[in-house]
């Protein structure tokens, strides 16, 4: 089956790219994607054999399907099929005049790359997949290539992806020194070798950049929002998972490291989560908010991994399992709700032409279907029952809470700090989610664009609805989902200790979710029996005696965040400038809000320094072919002499 998946993705990519602007190009790609994802889903859930080899020009590459791979393939294929359907609707107006075949070809290449990354059983196949996955989004992000900002975001993505990729290449080259490129060899030879630490550090760097961990997150809030919405959903919901996967696989290959690495990951994760949540709280572009929310969720996942490592280092198996399970479960839930939210915002973009919160509003009335799905996504992200986000967050809280009883004082302090920090993050997510949904969907339209919003075709509404339903189902069926995550964590941690309390806890939370649902249904029915349900009178919003409210008087996106910004949000680098008119009756005043990411500034200074360094080398780029050839020959000659043992 694995050949069907990889083969159809490869062939589909080639044929689709050749189909070009024809109608075939618009249909073939998504059809192949959905078919391949369906087969892939079957493969993931079946008891398929575990290992394969693929003939490559440089020797045989190995593929393997273990429980960890299955866990990551599950959201990939499930999400891929849904996003594929959505993309057809999203791009329907481009049929005939844009190169849709090429676009879908690149999507298929992206999926091929991601599948290879997850399935790889040697470093070479992994890097091959990683490169495919890194290059194709460049073309996908640059879809709206007439806009300068989009082109810039695409370039930024490419640079970040390649710097991360370079770190991975060097990491694997180092890891291959003791035993060889195959993962099996690395597993036996790498742990304990002095190269393991160096390789692991480089992997963390490369994978951290892909997942958007602080401080390498700066490209993510630029690139993910610039892409067309279904691609944003792919990148933010599914592609970031490869970063986490690479990190976990690296940990497995190099042997799980000790308390230092655990503490580092815990702190990086916590800082990323807090920073992402605060940025998501102050940004005003809906897609950027979602991108920062991705940063924050990746932080939570890494926080879980760090907690798990710390637990392992101190011999507390239950904490270790809780940490890794929390990371895996939250990753799955994040894939669901982040794809959902990007699809929802995609609908808003498609129907209104903007994603700036201050130009939107009143969409809950105009987009009843999409707004309901978005509400589910926001609630899931905030861990509100009865949706699945709660499960991962409670597991994470549980891991940290058990850590407060450790014998080691430093570990205790880290765990307690993580717990309190996580609580702050969870409070911020709720505030940010309410802000996103409330400003976007609630109230009156803030511009003419939002006034005329209409629900799109079913191909765009359906996928969002499926994901929203999954968010609920994953909570109700949480014990089943946990049953799949247990062997995945087992790949890293070996045999499990007695986890019945954990399993029972998850089952109980699922019950709570079910009861919340039931209570809501009962209340809904009871409401129909009370007066004022259907015969409610309609009268304009009460505005405290002021009889002429206008939509412009509503709270703005930043206005909503202002109390939190003033209390703890200044670290985000956002600034407010208020310019008021003069005189007794000032006619004009304005408030300018700038939301810049201060960490970007650090990077741009660094890159500027690199550019200056490179400029200094330009004297060598003189353009005289004779001298180039001469230099080449001199270097070759020198190498020859050196080899011959001068």
């Amino acid at each position: 089956m694995v050949w069907w998946v990889l083969g159809s993705l490869t062939a589909g990519a080639v044929v689709s790219a050749m189909a070009g602007r024809s109608r075939l190009g618009a249909i073939l790609g998504p059809a192949v994607l959905v078919a391949a994802c369906a087969v892939g889903l079957g493969l993931t859930l079946s008891n398929a054999p575990e290992g394969w080899t693929i003939p490559l020009p440089v020797g045989a590459g190995a593929l393997r399907l273990d429980a960890l791979t299955r866990w990551f393939l599950l959201p990939l294929f499930a999400g891929g099929a849904v996003v594929g359907c959505y993309g057809v609707g999203y791009l329907h107006h481009a049929v005939g005049h844009r190169h849709l075949g090429g676009h879908w070809g690149m999507v298929l290449l992206l999926f091929l790359g991601m599948s290879l990354v997850f399935l790889a059983d040697d470093g070479f196949v992994f890097l091959l997949g990683w490169e495919m996955m890194s290059i194709s989004p460049f073309f996908l992000v640059a879809w709206e290539d007439t806009e300068a900002s989009v082109r810039e975001a695409a370039w930024e993505y490419l640079v970040a992806a390649h710097l991360g990729g370079a770190a991975l290449v060097v990491g694997f080259a180092l890891a291959a020194v003791p035993g060889g490129w195959s993962f099996a060899a690395m597993r036996t030879a790498l742990p304990g070798s002095p190269l393991a630490t160096a390789a692991l550090l480089l992997w963390m760097l490369g994978c951290g950049a892909k997942a958007g961990l602080l401080p390498a997150h700066v490209w993510l809030p630029e690139a993910h929002p610039a892409a067309p919405s279904h691609i944003s959903a792919l990148m933010s919901g599914l592609m970031v998972n490869t970063g986490i996967y690479g990190l976990l696989r690296g940990l497995e290959l190099a042997g799980l490291p000790g308390a230092g690495a655990g503490a580092a990951l815990l702190l990086i994760g916590l800082a990323t989560a807090l920073y992402g949540a605060l940025q998501a709280m102050v940004q005003t572009n809906a897609k950027r908010i979602l991108a920062f929310s991705t940063v924050e969720n990746m932080g939570l996942i890494v926080l879980g991994i760090g907690t798990g490592l710390l637990g392992l280092a101190h011999g507390q198996e239950v904490t270790a399992w809780l940490g890794f399970l929390a990371a895996l479960m939250h990753l799955f839930h994040h894939s669901l709700f982040k794809s959902l939210l990007f699809l929802g915002v995609g609908v808003v973009l498609e129907t209104t032409g903007t994603v700036h919160l201050n130009e939107l509003g009143g969409l809950a009335q105009r987009l009843p279907w999409t707004s309901r799905c978005m509400a589910v996504g926001v609630a899931t992200g905030a861990g509100i029952p009865p949706f699945c986000g709660l499960i991962g967050e409670v597991l994470l809280f549980a891991a940290l809470a058990t850590g407060v009883g450790f014998p080691d004082a430093t570990a205790r302090a880290l765990m307690a700090g993580g717990f309190v920090g996580l609580a702050l993050v969870s409070g911020l997510i709720l505030a940010g989610g309410v802000r996103l949904f409330g400003i976007l969907m609630g109230g009156a339209p803030r511009s003419a664009k939002a006034q005329t919003a209409k629900e799109p075709s079913w191909s765009m509404r359906g996928p969002a609805a499926i994901l929203a339903a999954s968010c609920w189902l994953a909570a109700i069926a949480a014990p089943l989902v946990l049953g799949l995550a247990l062997p995945a964590a087992g790949v890293l941690l070996g045999t499990a200790p007695d986890l019945t309390p954990v399993v029972r806890m998850v089952a109980q939370i699922a019950q709570v979710a079910l009861v919340v649902t039931a209570v809501l249904v009962v209340l809904f029915l009871a409401r129909r029996a009370l007066p004022g349900h259907a015969d409610a009178r309609s009268f304009r919003t009460w505005d405290c005696g002021f009889a002429a409210p206008t939509p412009r008087m509503q709270y703005t996106a930043f206005g909503f965040a202002h109390p939190l910004w003033r209390a703890i949000g200044r670290i985000t680098g956002s600034q407010v400038m208020v310019r008021l008119g003069h005189g007794y009756f000032p006619a004009h005043g304005e408030v300018v809000v700038s939301t810049a990411d201060p960490i970007r500034g650090v990077w741009s200074r660094l890159f500027e320094a690199v550019r200056l360094g490179c400029d200094a080398l330009k004297w060598f780029q003189h353009g005289r072919i004779q001298l180039y050839v001469c230099t080449l020959a001199a270097v070759l000659l020198g190498l020859l002499l050196w080899q011959l043992g001068w």
């Binding site: 919340v516 009370l530 009268f539 304009r540 919003t541 405290c544 709270y555």
Partner: protein, 297 residues
């Protein structure tokens, strides 16, 4: 017994507002409104019709349901009289916090759905203060948890008012109760100026049974907090079932009385000072947590 405790909660929750108001009136030398006034209000509201703004959508109608559903489910997680609630599992205190976020989510979204600038203002403040109060609530309960267990039932059993740590945890929960339930000095439930409100301004547009639902939800939420605080503060688990039941009930009303006294004695804080107030509540929990982390359990 468990079912009886729920029935009592549902029946007696609105009485808490009556007690708070009566204490305030007594402290101010007034007679005060009837103890059962909230019941009369609820009975009146349920029979009334509803006015809905044309700006609003399904979100506005959903808000009141969430406002009731959250505290209703929270009741089932709450230990009563030194015994576990319907659910009792490790980390149930975190689930309790998330379930209690439902009413906040519902009222904030409904407020933003009306498009009113005042209600947006209320939602914005509620969002900020709720987010800042979350770490305090969870840290206080984690600090209160004994090494052996992370269930609410075990937390309540391990703490009582007469130990230094327990007293601080109870103080933290009391301060956060004031924040979460929109009481003085964070919010003034009796104010008449929309600009200064938080909770009241968010529900300006609700009417009829929906306003009744929100009021009842707020009463239930206060009950949940008060009952939790009473369970922590009193050594109920060491009493026989029936006295424990009575003590828990009296304790819950006692918390309401304390809230009434706080409201009589303090003035409302200026809004920019509220985060520092929340922080002081959080700090009480954090001190206990720090002591445990530093000293080893």
């Amino acid at each position: 017994m468990l079912v009886l405790s729920w029935i009592l909660a549902l029946v007696l929750a609105p009485l808490l507002f009556g007690i708070i108001n009566r204490i305030k009136a007594l402290m101010a030398g007034r007679r005060g409104r009837p103890l059962l006034q909230t019941y009369f209000d609820l009975a009146k509201l349920v029979r009334k019709g509803v006015v809905v703004s044309p700006t609003t959508s399904w979100v506005f109608r959903l808000g009141p349901m969430l406002a009731v559903a959250g505290p209703l489910v929270a009741l089932a997680l709450l230990p009563y009289a030194g015994r576990p609630g319907l659910w009792s599992f490790p980390m149930d205190f975190v689930v309790l916090a998330y379930v209690l976020a439902l009413p906040r989510l519902g009222t904030m979204l409904a407020a933003l759905d009306t498009g009113s600038s005042f209600e947006g203002m209320g939602a914005s403040r509620e969002a900020a203060f709720g987010a800042l109060a979350e770490p305090g609530f969870l840290a206080a309960l984690l600090a209160a948890a004994p090494q052996s267990g992370l269930r609410l039932e075990e937390i309540a059993a391990a703490q009582d008012l007469f130990h230094s740590g327990g007293a601080l945890v109870c103080l933290a929960l009391l301060l956060l109760l004031l924040v979460e339930n929109a009481r003085m000095p964070v919010d003034d439930p009796n104010t008449h100026l929309e600009l200064t409100m938080i909770h009241e301004v968010m529900v300006l547009d609700h009417s009829g049974p929906e306003l009744a639902a929100i009021t009842f939800g707020a009463a239930l939420k206060l009950w949940v907090f008060a009952a939790l605080l009473a369970a922590l503060a009193l050594p109920l688990e060491r009493m026989a079932p029936l006295p424990a039941f009575g003590a828990h009930l009296v304790g819950t009303f006692g918390v309401a009385a304390v809230v009434g006294m706080v409201e009589s004695l303090t003035a409302r804080l200026p809004l920019p000072r509220v985060p520092a107030f929340i922080l002081s509540g959080t700090a009480c929990g954090l001190v206990v947590l720090l002591m445990e982390v530093g000293g080893g359990r």
